[in-house]
């Protein structure tokens, strides 16, 4: 069961799609989100990388000044600036 992931910056939605796992670094340390994760709201470290594993591929994005919001509906990465790399 994939999770819906959206990486959004104020000016546009950078990436969205279904994924198997999301790995992001919060101020407390690395955080991996698998389907069925409890709702969570975390502050991401500045200049960190968010990795999204979907199928066999892995998408990574540089995010700055962001949050990760996990709900039952999906995962949102809110970042002031986000660029896919």
């Amino acid at each position: 069961m994939p999770i819906r992931v959206a990486i959004v910056s104020p000016e546009q939605e950078v990436w969205s799609g279904d994924a198997d796992m999301v790995v992001a670094r919060t101020t407390d340390g690395d955080l991996g989100v698998l389907p069925g994760h409890v709702p969570l709201l975390g502050v991401l470290v500045p200049g960190g990388t968010v990795r999204v594993k979907t199928g066999g591929r892995e998408i990574s994005a540089q995010v700055d000044g962001g949050f990760i919001s996990v709900t039952h509906q999906g995962v949102s990465i809110l970042a002031e600036t986000a660029t896919l790399s």
């Binding site: 959004v8 104020p10 709702p39 949050f67 809110l78």
Partner: protein, 298 residues
Amino acid sequence: MAGQLREYRRRIRSVQSTKKITRAMELIAASRIAKARARVAAARPYAEEITRVIEAVASQTTISHPLTTERPQPVRAAVVVITSDRGLAGGYSSNALRRANELIELLRSEGKEPELHVIGRKGVGYYRFRGRAISGEYTGFSEQPSYADAKSVGDALIASFVASGESGGVDEIHVVHTEYVSALTQTPVARRLLPMVLTETNEPPAGGPLPQYEFEPSAEAVLDALLPRYVESRLYAAMLESAASESAARQRAMKSATDNAEDLIRSYTRQANRARQDAITQEISEIVGGANALSSAS
């Protein structure tokens, strides 16, 4: 007689070149509306998500955070007014300024000292002419604001909000911007940005009930980090919406200017034709009169 004709032709040429300018501005404004509307739509996912998250956090934590708590004795309030950098946009800036003045009156009557933060040259000029103190002025991006612009405005506001009214900062932040209702209607609106106005309803919000979040590292830290982002994103949304309204107002103003120019050209052309015809008639009657005088003399 011929002088009059020349005068009309000169006026027609002058109105024609004005018409070219207003037509060009109308077309530019029309394309900018579409662009600005697209940017409003692109900014929406972020703005909605951040508002939803804050509501979720605020509804389930008991901590009192400046973001959501009303200060007991508010003494100063920041008013952000969004106007345009350039004129020729009909009543766009003056409508926004009128709404801002209503808000300022209201704040004064509630015993809060308003502090002005003005976006756009028109607003800056308006308040400076009236000798009003401006705490912050931001110009040069009213038609195409970027997130960085919203951030530069937001930084100053947040710093003074965190400082609070007693120590020279502000206790509330209000924004006056122009809402784009349709291409024909734009209404200036005033909203309070901080402290947040939470909608307290018993109905479950759209998209299902808000989940019980866990916080990493803590609810306070998350709210602290959310506060500036929230202010910036709301300012950015207001600026984009205002940019769309500004372009729509300008398009309408320039369209009526172009129509007026066309009317003028039509009536001048008619008058020029009459002047030309009069001159010809006069010339004929002079020739006929001259010939008659010659034949009667011989």
